[in-house]
């Protein structure tokens, strides 16, 4: 028995020695004279993999920039890592990237749980994170010094879309279908904010799980509640099932959807053409637009990633990276994390293909506006309303 105790004591001593010697915490530097390393995580495999294209897109922007000689002589190198939408995996891949490869800044980054699991770690290691590919309030309220959000809040979107439906379309009977997660609930909050302001009430508010494939009871509930416009904050597949199911029972409300369902080319195809006439919010210029910047990106995508479909989410990956590139350009030759932070913090009304972005040291929610689109025949985008600000936005009234 005595020997055993001694053995454990020895082990204890060893481990405390190991701990005291202080095995390094610090990450490798994110840049050198030749390259700046950026990275994105996103689900590349598993059920959530359709969201993964956004993480791959910055590689196209990097290739474009590198072809022109990089940013002040430094090339951009983009890493993509698969996390299967699982925060445990996100943590593993992000730590490996930061401590092994050395990452200057993360861009995009899909999935709110994974992001929330690593955001403190990134801040501790002084790694910047620009343009998370989802809107999460906890990312920006309170301000996280190293995290800069581009995505408009779903709440603002909900409020603006509801206003459009009530004022421009003149529909008063509004039903909401929302995914039971922060995304859906924030959208619902936005609708409620606008309706409360107008002293109205939604006729139906129906939660849905992302995995559900049979939604006939949801649609019947909307129909029996008499909803003439239905606002959706759901997964694209859920949206398609809703619209298809409504068609089976001859229910034809005005469907209005969040910007995550604004990939009209895809949505129109997978809904068998039923997406035509649906109104959505949007957080950037349409991928089929004639805007010279969009055309440039489209050509680059064709050249560097011929397999990728240039849809909304692929282009969004480029859009989320634009402000970082801009900041890197502004900083100039003497690159450092602090300098880039300063450049990002002083960014005012910067506009790439996305909304106007303004960041300040005490406000890291970059955009407050959305566009409103309508799906035309064959998945063509029709612009209904240009950049619109939510005048009720709670986070700006302070």
């Amino acid at each position: 028995m005595k020997g055993k105790g001694r053995f454990w004591a020895v082990l204890f001593t060893i481990s405390s020695l190991v701990l005291w010697t202080g095995i390094g915490l610090c990450g490798a530097p994110g840049f050198d004279d030749k390259e700046i390393r950026i990275a994105a995580w996103g689900p590349q495999t598993g059920p959530a993999a359709p969201w993964g294209s956004v993480a791959r897109a910055p590689a196209v922007l990097a290739a474009m920039i590198n072809e022109q000689g990089g940013i002040h002589g430094r090339k951009l190198k983009h890493f993509v890592r698969d996390d299967q939408y699982n925060p445990a995996q996100t943590k593993v891949v992000v730590k490996e990237l930061v401590e092994k490869e050395g990452i200057f800044s993360f861009v995009c980054g899909t999935g709110s749980a994974g992001g929330l699991a690593v955001k403190d770690y990134l801040a501790q290691n002084k790694v910047i994170w620009v343009g998370p590919a989802t809107s999460v309030k906890e990312y920006v309220f309170p301000v996280q010094p190293y995290l800069f959000s581009v995505y408009p809040l779903y709440e603002d979107e909900g409020s603006i879309l509801t206003k459009y439906v009530i004022e421009k379309l003149g529909i008063k009977e509004i039903g909401v279908v929302y995914q039971n997660d922060p995304y859906g609930k924030n959208g619902l909050d936005g609708v409620r904010q606008r309706l409360d302001h107008l002293k109205m009430k939604a006729v139906a508010e129906i939660p849905v799980e992302a995995t559900e494939k049979d939604l006939s009871s949801h649609v019947l509930k909307l129909k029996s509640a008499g909803a003439k416009a239905v606002l959706m904050w759901v997964h694209p597949t859920t949206g398609v099932v809703l619209v298809k199911t409504a068609a089976t029972i001859g229910y034809k409300p005005q469907w209005v959807a969040s910007n995550t369902l604004s990939d009209f080319e895809l949505m129109n195809k997978i809904s068998g053409g039923l997406w035509e006439g649906i109104i959505t919010g949007a957080f950037m210029l349409p991928p089929d637009s004639d805007d010279p910047r969009v055309v440039k990106y489209r050509e680059a995508a064709k050249k560097y990633a011929p397999e990728e479909r240039f849809g909304v989410f692929f282009m969004a990956g480029i859009m989320f990276t634009e402000p970082l590139v801009e900041a890197l350009k502004r900083v100039g030759k003497n690159l450092s994390t602090e300098a880039v932070l300063k450049a990002l913090n002083s960014m005012k009304n910067f506009q790439g293909v996305g909304p106007k972005l303004t960041w300040s040291p005490d406000q890291h929610q970059g955009s407050d506006s959305i566009q409103i689109w309508k799906c035309g025949p064959g998945g063509k985008t029709i612009l209904l309303q240009d950049w619109t600000v939510n005048e009720l936005a709670h986070w700006k009234k302070k």
Partner: protein
């Protein structure tokens, strides 16, 4: 409104039932729960999609081609993965089917990518017929009902009057005795897998037409179909059909009144049913002997 709910519930329930039959056929012969069932149907549907969109052949060619592929796939999995297992435990066999599931899902995502695809059947959603006042039924549902009914009748005749069907039942009841009677048990297993895969592919195409086609789209329907099969007793084919119907209607009614609880109510009811009837509603419960 309730009439419409019942129609919708029955039609999705029939779809679960058809897929549940695929689960039951394998369970009936080899007592294995095939967790790869959903993915087998998924990849067969992708084959149909591929024939339709890449080769541009007409629908019925793609349909037949996919069913043919499904049979081959089922036989392949049985012959290459399950048969070589040395004195396997039931859990071991389940893990093999799980491995096959991951394999198939990986292959499909590698080949066709993760993005959703459109898969349409000639039985359209949009065409509706009024049954009673205010209650409509669409072509898709009619096709599902017809398919389920035809399958039921066919399987009834098959298991009762054909040699092969009787051999399958015999294999399930006592493998050794069946072997002694001269039944080639391996061949029966292969046949069961091929047949089950075919039925699964049928149901898979109907599910794909209802939602979208992507490598993960069969996970949820598989669970529901499995639940319907357990509710019916995993052994009896009429049981699965009734189980599917109950599940569909129940889910739709709960979904109408308490949408938040729709995803799990089926499982809660099944647990409750199982507490009273441990072998499902329609299977005879054999008391174990020592």
């Amino acid at each position: 409104m309730y009439g419409q709910l019942i129609v919708e519930g029955l039609s999705i329930g029939a779809c679960y039932a058809v897929f549940g039959i695929a689960v039951v056929i394998i369970y009936k012969t080899s007592e294995v729960i095939n967790f790869a069932q959903g993915e087998m149907a998924m990849i067969s549907t992708f084959v149909a999609y591929h024939i339709l969109n890449v080769y541009g052949w007409p629908f019925w060619y793609a349909f037949i081609g996919a069913l043919f592929f499904a049979v081959l796939l089922g036989v392949f999995i049985e012959v290459c993965f399950l048969r070589p297992a040395k004195d396997p435990t039931v859990l071991g066999l389940i893990v093999i089917t799980l491995g096959a599931e991951m394999l198939l899902m990986g292959l499909a995502s590698w080949k066709w990518g993760a993005e959703q695809k459109d898969f349409a059947l000639p039985f359209s959603f949009h065409k509706t017929h009024e049954l009673f006042k205010g209650v409509v039924i669409n072509d898709w549902s009619i096709a599902v009902f017809v398919m389920a009914a035809v399958l039921m009748i066919f399987l009834y005749i098959f298991f009762r009057y054909t040699k092969l069907g009787v051999a399958m039942r015999a294999t399930q009841q006592n493998e050794h005795a069946a072997r002694i009677m001269g039944i080639k048990v391996e061949r029966v297993f292969s046949f069961a897998w091929g047949f089950s895969s075919l039925i699964g592919a049928l149901a898979g195409m109907f599910f794909a037409a209802r939602s979208t086609l992507d490598p993960a789209y069969m996970m949820e329907p598989f669970l529901r179909a499995f639940a319907a099969a357990v509710l019916g007793g995993l052994m009896s084919i009429p049981g699965v059909v009734i189980g599917g119907g109950i599940l569909g209607i129940l889910e739709n009614f709960v979904g109408f009144h308490w949408p938040a609880w729709k995803p799990i109510v089926a499982f809660l009811v099944i647990v409750a049913v199982l507490c009273i009837r441990p072998s499902g509603l329609f299977a005879r419960h054999y008391e174990k002997k020592v």
